[in-house]
């Protein structure tokens, strides 16, 4: 099991990181723009308070970081060396705070939003999709699928925007944005947690509704094939109770491919989380990214892109490692 299951996945893990980081390395080289010069411009445009020496020093650092020293291969190796140390250089916008520190500050918000919405919508979507698939001859099941079918193709941005307009602008039930009330000091009080939840609610809901719609629909398709499997037909022939068949036979088995699907769509979900944060100005990596774009903070953008690559592929590896827990066919081979 170790050899046949684990090793290919570890290799794929390393390959994803390799491909991602390589893209990040080559992108600045393939575009007609000189990122270092552009960054220097950005900084000098922002203020004259930097003395020329500091600018020179930073030019050096940047050149080193973006590989204008040595031949291409040396540059590439140096790039890797810095990444593995977590050194993405300073933020240009909030100079000289290191990029890694800024990312570290906003990461918990994104992680919270992402994990809660992903797991809840995966779970709810699968149960609903399983039930819809199992009772597909019922009217309500088809109605539910049609609803999912209309919601599913809407991009995260548009859906978040609609949610914001309806619930914050028009109904005024929720705050217009942010992660917590201005001026409140974080604490473990009930009130604070409630406020956190109130601010997180719309971003969460907007991500979850989309997530549930996608999961529901794929699950429905998987179930429509599983119900034709021999072991389901046989359980029905044996008069096994419908509820047992629905959950223990159909849904339980249909969830297995859904674990893999979750791993495959993690990149998209993450991108969706970034966008949703931007719409609700939720203080996670998405908003950080937005500010980085607005201020031309190339260092920060690159840091976020790289961290995302590492994060997502690790997350996928984790799911892959957990998979055998659900599937005895992998566990005992």
């Amino acid at each position: 099991m170790l050899k046949r299951y684990l090793i290919p996945r570890l290799i794929q893990y390393l390959l994803v990181i390799f491909v991602g980081v390589t893209i990040v390395f080559f992108v600045p080289r393939l575009t007609p723009v000189d990122p270092v010069q552009q960054m220097i411009n950005t900084i000098t445009r922002m203020g004259t308070y930097l003395d020329p020496k500091a600018v020179e020093k930073m030019t050096e650092t940047l050149k080193e970081l973006y590989g204008l020293k040595g031949n291409l291969f040396e540059q590439y190796l140096a790039f890797w060396g810095r990444l593995l140390k977590g050194d993405f250089g300073p933020s240009l916008f909030r100079f000289p705070i290191p990029v890694i520190k800024l990312i570290g500050d906003s990461l918990p918000w994104t992680l919270g939003l992402l994990t809660i919405s992903t797991f809840l919508s995966w779970f709810i979507g699968n149960i609903l999709g399983g039930i819809v698939g199992f009772y597909y001859d019922k009217r309500w099941a088809r109605v539910m699928e049609s609803i999912a079918m209309v919601i599913r193709p809407i991009p995260y941005y548009i859906f978040a925007l609609i949610t914001l307009i309806v619930f914050s602008y028009l109904l005024k039930w929720f705050p217009l944005g942010g992660g917590m009330p201005v001026g409140v000091v974080p604490s473990f009080s009930i009130k604070f947690i409630f406020e956190l939840f109130r601010y997180a609610f719309l971003p969460l809901i907007s991500m979850m509704v989309l997530g549930i719609a996608v999961t529901l629909q794929t699950m429905r398709l998987i179930v429509s094939n599983i119900v034709k499997e021999d072991f389901v037909t046989y359980a029905r022939a044996g008069g096994v109770k419908k509820k047992i068949i629905a959950f223990k036979y159909v849904i339980r088995n249909a969830m297995l491919p859904q674990v893999t699907n979750l791993a495959l769509s993690m990149g998209q979900i993450f991108s969706g989380a970034l966008i949703t944060e931007i719409v609700f100005s939720y203080p996670g990596m998405g908003t950080l990214l937005y500010n980085a774009i607005a201020t031309g903070d190339f260092n920060l953008i690159m840091g976020i892109a790289t961290i995302s690559i590492f994060g997502i592929s690790t997350f996928i590896l984790l799911i892959d490692l957990l998979y055998p827990l659900f599937d005895p066919r992998v566990r005992y081979r």
Partner: protein
């Protein structure tokens, strides 16, 4: 035509087809627009919908309806460019990996899966933030195509794998057909339907990406697209100013566009899937 008639029997396809036709008509109307979409102040500002300006005007003094027609046309063009070129990459990857098999297959699929799971948005942002503003919409389409092929390459590969097992591969090889000929003559007829069914999904993805990048201010805001129209409305605070027609027009249009494209793709891939084709043989109850 027979296929089309079969597809029209599916309610999903009918709805999707009607909406997409309406949207296409809008896109075509752009050719007879009385306005130049890049010019400002060609109409009074901030007018609500009226007979003269059926979707009102915006704060830039443009007619929202005619602006929309250009936006749809450009968004669809970007989507078609992206989908077209990514299909070429997908076909090559899928054919080569599936046909050659072995180590090369494993290597290519490793790369493929990497593209599949990578968080594309940050990477696309990285790219477009470097060439910000200079990006023509053809360029944007091309960039999107570089990242939008991996899923379809996988699907094509597995189709090739199953075709390889069939007799005609061996017969053809024995009778001395060259690989290229074999691939084009024998495999293409089976690959084309897949390419077509994934094409729509890919277009949908590209349109969504364009909107996202435009919102972030990373595309050329001078060219009207669904994304840039929305971006202008948001940056002018259309919602707060009560100019709902300005904001709602791109939102509603894109929702309709996405839903209709999705319905078409679901319907077509159901049609192509042999398993559901059997299901379509309607079961009669006494």
């Amino acid at each position: 035509m027979g296929i089309f008639r079969d597809l029209l029997r599916d309610g999903k396809f009918r709805v999707g087809f009607i909406i997409i036709c309406l949207i296409l008509i809008l896109a075509l109307l752009s050719f007879v627009s009385p306005y130049d979409p890049t010019r400002w102040n060609v109409a009074p500002r901030d007018l609500p919908p009226s007979l003269q300006h059926i979707l009102g005007t915006n704060s830039q003094g443009q007619d929202v309806f005619w602006q929309l027609t250009f936006a749809i046309r450009n968004s669809l063009t970007i989507a078609i460019i992206a989908a077209f070129f990514s299909r070429i990459i997908a076909i090559i990857m899928g054919l080569v990996a599936g046909y050659r098999g072995g180590r090369l297959d494993r290597f290519l699929m490793g790369i493929n899966d990497s593209f599949l799971v990578l968080p594309l948005l940050p990477i696309l942002i990285l790219i477009s933030s470097l060439i910000k503003g200079r990006l023509s919409f053809v360029g944007l389409g091309l960039i999107l195509s570089v990242f939008g092929w991996s899923w379809d390459a996988r699907v094509i590969r597995s189709q090739i794998l199953s075709l390889r097992e069939r007799d005609f591969t061996y017969t053809a090889l024995l009778s001395g057909t060259s690989t290229i000929q074999l691939v084009f003559k024998e495999y293409f007829p089976f690959v084309i339907p897949i390419v077509f069914s994934t094409l729509i999904n890919n277009m949908s993805w590209a349109i969504g990406m364009e909107i996202t990048l435009a919102i972030l201010g990373l595309t050329n805001l001078e060219i009207p697209t669904l994304g840039t129209v929305l971006q202008w409305a948001i940056s002018y605070q259309a919602m707060l100013l009560g100019l709902w027609w300005w904001l709602l027009t791109p939102v509603v249009t894109s929702v309709l566009l996405f839903v209709s494209l999705y319905l078409l793709s679901v319907s077509i891939s159901e049609y192509l899937d042999p398993r559901t084709r059997i299901q379509r043989i309607r079961v009669i109850k006494e």
